[in-house]
């Protein structure tokens, strides 16, 4: 017996399914974000060393997590598209890329905001920030390559190869940057080692991370719907879709 997974791999069946799922993810993302922000700004205690400014980690750390995680997921979808030649997988990969890049920018931005009161400079060549910056370059490369190739199928496949090369390189880049940083005696305060995490801090961070997850899924689904419409504009089911009253 063959499990009917591939049924949902057809853009025509996935399109309405995604439409039904988006509100669920979007709403749970919004609710979680409100709860997470409440926890992080009102419940979590003030840090005795860094004062109130540390609270930016509630956004910074989940964003940094997401940026790396989304890259891996994106490469996974891209690889699936390359191997099984399923169009939807490649569409998912290109739908995830902007969200991943957005989280990378957020992580960098909040890192800079956190760096000013902590290190006294907007930008410090800290290992984490530096690798985040290189990750942003990798995302931009993926997006630029995809945009530069006119034929969408070829664009999918070429950027899939790039994503896979990137995913092999990300750990190498990460460790080399980390190693470079310890060698050059960079900043001694690391952002992940928020001194003595209280339970409420951890909870706030986890809730925020979940909110980011929900947002990412909702955003990726919404974007993949746009991509489906754009690419399948000649298909019959889209013509039928346009006739239906909504």
């Amino acid at each position: 017996m063959k499990l009917n997974w591939f049924k949902y791999a057809a853009p025509a069946t996935f399109y309405p399914l995604a439409g039904k799922l988006i509100p669920w993810f979007a709403w749970s993302g919004a609710i979680l974000a409100v709860a997470g922000l409440y926890l992080s700004f009102f419940v979590a205690p003030t840090d005795f060393q860094q004062g109130e400014s540390y609270r930016i980690i509630f956004i910074h750390v989940p964003a940094a997590w997401m940026s790396m995680f989304i890259y891996i997921v994106m490469a996974g979808w891209a690889a699936a598209g390359l191997i099984f030649n399923t169009r939807l997988s490649s569409m998912m990969a290109s739908a995830l890329a902007p969200t991943g890049a957005l989280f990378t920018v957020i992580a960098l931005w909040t890192g800079a905001l956190w760096g000013k009161p902590t290190w006294g400079a907007w930008w410090v060549w800290d290992a984490r920030l530096t690798s985040e910056l290189i990750l942003l370059f990798l995302y931009l490369g993926f997006l630029a390559l995809h945009a530069a190739i006119d034929d969408p199928r070829r664009a999918d496949r070429a950027s899939a190869v790039l994503a896979l090369v990137g995913v092999v390189n990300v750990p190498i880049i990460y460790f080399s940057v980390k190693w470079w940083n310890t060698l050059h005696q960079g900043a001694s305060v690391s952002m992940t080692m928020a001194p003595k995490m209280a339970a409420t801090m951890l909870l706030g961070m986890l809730v925020m991370a979940l909110a980011c997850w929900m947002y990412s899924i909702a955003a990726a689904l919404a974007r993949v719907r746009c991509i489906i419409l754009e690419r399948e504009q000649q298909a019959e089911w889209i013509a039928n879709l346009a006739k239906e009253p909504t």
Partner: protein, 210 residues
Amino acid sequence: MLEVSGLGCLRGERRLFAGVSFSLRPGGLIWIQGGNGSGKTTLLRTLCGLTPAMAGEVRWGGEPIRKLGEDYRRELTYIGHANGLKEDLSAAENLLAAAHLAGQQASRAEVAGALQGIGLAGREHLPVKFLSQGQRRRAALARLRLAHSRTLWLLDEPFNALDAHAVAGMRHIMEQHLAQGGMIALTTHQEVAIQATDAQALRLDEGSAG
């Protein structure tokens, strides 16, 4: 034997052709016809294995060419729209490099003979950038004189830019190849009567026009 069944191709999201089926036996020739943009070149590239088919399959001796890989590539010679010549190398150097790359043993004398036979005598050692369009095409086609051991020839507009004399010469080479049990698939705008025991024509813009 080359078998093509239900072949379909897209360009971007637009369908170029669909349901193309034919088979080519030893000594067989297929002439692929169609207007500009009907997908002749794409079909030839799909037959080479350069462009993947969106639907259908190309089989060689019963096996899909995707699986055969190098074993299939060893059987074929493809001459595309572009000549595949390096401007800075002479025709002889180009031909020698092409033969080596294709895994064929070719001596300098054989190369010189092939170039002379196609009407490039005296110009073998001139860099290709100094040759005219027709002469470049001849230099590219000279590969065929060394490629009789390759069963399947896929030729994209071989007669482009050739004069009547060169066309006759090419026709002779192709007839010789067919007589030896070779197979040829070609596209051309010109009417060229090639003697073949088993000749067929395929029109691409029929049925899939639109």
